[in-house]
Symmetry: C2
Subunit: 140 residues, 2 copies
DNA sequence: AGTCCAATTGAAATTAAATCTCAATTTCAG
DNA sequence: CTGAAATTGAGATTTAATTTCAATTGGACT
């Protein structure tokens, strides 16, 4: 599982599995799927396996590079991440009122983007589609 | 034109048209359509009509509220804006290598998003679609 | 043209996210 | 075990943006 995947990734890069990296890894995968780094750091400080803020940010970058985590969005000031192990790509709707995040996936929409890239000779490698508005509960 | 529109907007809100706000307005509409606030501030400092950094940021917020300017991207560190007066909504492809920004618009893609909002009972009010990758010139 | 007062300004301090520095510590291949 | 290379954390630094507040200004109303 993600533990072994991260180990392999580190191995390939000549990096070491440390107790701090393990702490971040565990916390990322027990966190709600969307999280921000400062929340994550607070959770880690409260847990048994500690890591400094610097290590949290450094490990987060490695997790993104390994493909286990993705940067999802910037809500206001900081970034939002989510763990993606065993999950399919998807995009997000975000409620401006209550902050709820709704995930969606559309094959058509993905294909349309491929077409658009094609007709611009652009080699698309990733994308973020974020729809903002009012969720079911928050619309009048 | 944008001058009058901004005046009206300010009037409606009981705000005043000051020389600083005018300076920002002029610079925003003589700038390349995509810009970041610090660039804008630098340009204003170099121009005849000065304004402080605080006023630049404050006026930028008002311009966004007035609909003359939109926040375009949140992917790097700071925000990117563009003036939208007389321009149609569109989305962006951004080259990871050279930073080029390619604009595109697809009716199908917009409609697909409407459908998706509909089937989630979500009242979509705005969206950003940002495709990152390599542009024509930067792909091998 | 003058009065007045709420709106506005700018310099500097502050906040917040994220990154950097570097001496001390840890990991792990051999 | 050993030792070289990787890693860590406390605190300093960077960067974008916001806040503070005394001094200034816009413009409605005479
Ligand atoms: Mn998600
Ligand atoms: Mn644009
Ligand atoms: Zn909501
Ligand atoms: Zn390019």
């Amino acid at each position: 599982m993600h533990n072994k995947i991260f180990q392999n990734f580190l191995g390939r890069k000549g990096l070491k599995m440390t107790r701090e990296r393990f702490a971040v890894l565990e916390e990322v995968f027990s966190a709600p799927s969307h999280f921000d780094p400062e929340q994550l750091y607070a959770r880690i400080r409260a847990s048994a396996l500690k890591a400094s803020r610097a290590s949290v940010y450094r490990t987060l970058s490695l997790l993104v590079e390994s493909g286990l985590v993705e940067k999802v969005s910037r809500s206001g000031r900081g970034n939002i991440y989510e763990h993606t192990y065993g999950r399919r790509h998807h995009d997000h709707m975000i409620c401006d009122v209550c902050g709820e995040i709704i995930e969606f996936y559309s094959e058509n929409l993905e294909n349309l983007q491929l077409d658009i890239c094609g007709s611009n000779n652009f080699e698309g490698m990733s994308h973020t589609l974020e729809i903002r508005g009012h969720c079911e509960n928050c619309r009048d």
